[in-house]
Amino acid sequence: MRALKISSLFAMVAIAASACGGAATPTAAPTAAPAAEEPTAAPTAAAAEATTASEPAAATGGELKIAILAPLSGPVPTFGVSTRDGALLAIEEWNAKGGVNGMKITPVVEDSQCTPDPAVNAANKVIDQDGVKFIIGEVCSKATIPVSDIATEKKVILISPTSTNPSVTVDSKGKVKPYIFRACFIDPFQGTVGAKFALETLKVKTAFIMLDQSNDYVKGLAEYFEKAFTDGGGQVIGKETYTSKDTDFSAILAKVADTKPDVVYLPDYYNIVNLAAKQAKEKGITATFLGGDGWDSSDLDTAAAEGGYFTNHYSPEDTRAEVQNFVKSYGEKYKDDSGNAKVPDALAALAYDATNLLMEGIKAAGSDDTTKVNTTLEGITFNGISGKITFDANHDPVKSATILAVKDGKVQFNSVVNP
C-alpha cells in the first residue's frame, strides 16, 4: 500500500535553485508502506459488554508458538499496535476453541520497528531461542524482505499481513520463496478489481486513464486496470500522464471532455484526486472517477470526489457477518484512551486474517511440520475478514477487494468484488 508524505530533499536545490525546480512533492514510499489507515472512525457506541471472552479450553497436545513481528516502536507504531492486536485476538479465539490440532497457541511478540536490522534480530531470536516455526509479520516491506530470507533458509513459515512489495514472496531471480506468504493483495491487483467493478457493477464501456508515470504504485494500478478492462470487453479511449507536481489538469481534462468516457481511472493519492476531480466537476465532466486505496484519507475532498469509487483492503462498515463479528470482538477486547471500543483498521483486519490463515493451514496439514503447512497453504481456500483468499503461484493472495463509494460527502462501504 502507500504512505504519503512530503519528503524533504534539502540537498537537491542549493546552487541549482536558479535553474531547477524545487524539491519535494508528495512521494510514495512504495516499498515501506504498509496499510496506511490511521485509526479514524467514531467508536461504535455499544460494545461495553462484559468481557466474557476466552478461558483457554483444555489443550491437549502441547504448545504451538507463533511469533508476531510488529513495529511497536519506530516510524509507524500505530501500525504495529493494530497488527499485534489483530493477531492476538485471532490467537485468543483459537485457544478458546481448544487450540490447533489440540495444541495450545502461545504468542511471542517482538518489536521489529519497521526497520531491517531490528526485524532480522527479532526473527533470529524467535527462531533460534524460542524455537518458533511460524511468524506473522513484518508490516513494512523493507523489514519483511530480509526476514523472509531467513525464514526461507530456516524453513519457517512467514505470513506478512501487509507487505505489498513483490520481493517479499519472490526472490531477485523471480523465483518464488517457499514458506513465505502474504495476506494482502499486492498493489496492482487493485487495478484488476477496479476494472472488474467498472465493467460488471457500473456496466460501463469506455474508460480514460490518468496516471503519474513516475510513481510505481500508480503505474502498476493503471497498467492492470487497462489490461483487465480491455480483456473484459471495455475500451480504453484515452490515456494521459501527468507528474506528481502538477496542479493544472485542464489540458488532460479538455481531452476527457472531448472523448466523453464513462469512467476516468485515476489511481493516485488523494491530493491529486482533490485537484483533478474538482477541476473535472467544474468543467462539467460527468464521467465516474475510480481509484485505489490512495484515495483513502481524511483529507480527501469528498465534494470533489463525490460519485467516485475506490478499491481498498477492508471496511469496518462491511455488512458481512464475519466482519461485524470481528469488529465487535475487537471493540470488546481493545479500548482507546477514553475507554471507547476501538474500531479495527485494515492493519488489524489483515493481521487477524493472516493469523487465522496460518491456523487453518496448520489445522489442515494436521501437524506443525512447516513443509506440510507450506503445501496446504498453497492450496488453501480461506474466508477472511478481508475476503476470500487463495494463493497464486507467487504466493500472492487472489482475494476479494472492498469497494468504497464517495457519496453524500462521506466515504461509504459499497460492495465486495471477488476477482
Binding site: I252, E282, T286
Partner: protein, 375 residues
Amino acid sequence: MQQANTSKPSSFLARGSGARLAWIGKGFLIILALLALYILVKSFFANPQLFAQIVISGLQLGFVYALIALGYTMVYGIVRLINFAHGDVFMVGAFISFYAVARFRLHLWPAAAFPGMSSSLVVLIGSITVILLSMLVCAIMAVTIERVAYKPLRNAPRIAALITAIGVSFFLEFFGALNFVFSPRFIPYERPFEVVTWYISSGIHQVQAGTAPPSGAITFSNIAIIIMVASILMQLALQFLVRRTRIGKAMRATAFDKQAAQLMGINVDRIISITFAIGAAFAGLGGVLYAIAYPSIHSQLGILPGLKAFVAAVLGGIGSIPGAFVGALIMGQAESLTAGYISTPMRDAIAFTILILVLLVRPTGIFGEPEKEKA
C-alpha cells in the same frame, strides 16, 4: 551595490563567440518555431474547440505567472537581487486566505455586520477583504524579510544575497511544513466564493453539476476571468505607479543609480521596502487566485509557480515590467499547449527549452535592454 566590475565583458572574444552562438541559436529557433507552428495549425484545424480550451487554460496559468513575475522583475530592477523567496511569499498568500476563510470565516463578515445584505454582495465584499488581507500580510512579510535578511547584505557581493534568498526560501518552505505552522499535509482549500463555469454553445450557459455541456462547447470559469482581469489591472496600476507618480520616479531613479538617487534626497531604503511590498502583494494576490483555481494547498506550493514566473521574468527581460507580463503569457501557453498536444510530463522541459533558446538569441530577454555600464 558594487556590480560595476561584474558587468563589463572582455569585449572582443565574448562578443565574437556570442554572435556565433546567436546564429546557431537563431537557426534552431527558426526550425523549432516552424515545427511548433505546423503542429499548432494542424491541431487547430483538427479540433478548434479543444484548441481554444487549451489556450484558455494556458491564459489562466499565464496570468497567474504574470502576477508573480512582476515581483521578481521589480525587485531585480531595483536592487539587482533575484528574490527566490518570492514563490514562497505566494504560498503564504494562499495559506493566509485559507485560514481567513476556513478558520475565521472572514469572507462572511459583511453578512454579520450588515444583516440583510444581498448574498452576492456579501461574497464580493468578503472575498475582496480576504484577498486584501492576504496581500497585506504578504507585503508586511516581504518587507520584514528584506529588512532582516537582505538589507544587511546590500553592500556585500551579489552572490551572498542570492544565497541568502535561497536560504529564506527554504526556511519558509520547511518552517511552513511544521505541524504547528501550515503542516506538511496537502490541505483541501476552502474557497471564499464558488467557482462557476459557463460554456459557449449558441449563447453562454452555466454548467450544471452532473450535466455535461454539449460536445464541442468551450468552457470557461469565473476564476479564469477574475485572474485575467486582476492581472491586467495590476499591470496597468503598476505601470501608472512607475511612470506617473513621485514614488515611481523615485523607484526609477533608484534602479538607475542608487548612490545618485540617495544624493538627490531619495530615501532609498524606503523605496526598496515599497518595491518589496508591492511585489509581495501581487504575489499574495496570485497565491489566493491560484489556490481558488487549483484548490489544494501545501507548504511547497510556491516552488514551481515561483520558478516558472522567474523564468517568465527572465524570458521577458528581467527588470522590465511589460517583459515579465509577456514572458508569463508565453510560459503559460507553452505549458498548456505542450500538455495538450505533446504530453504533460514534457511541459516543463519545453518551457525551459524556450527559455534557453530565447536567451541564446537575446541574452537580455525579449524586452530587456543590454545592461548599461554604470559607474
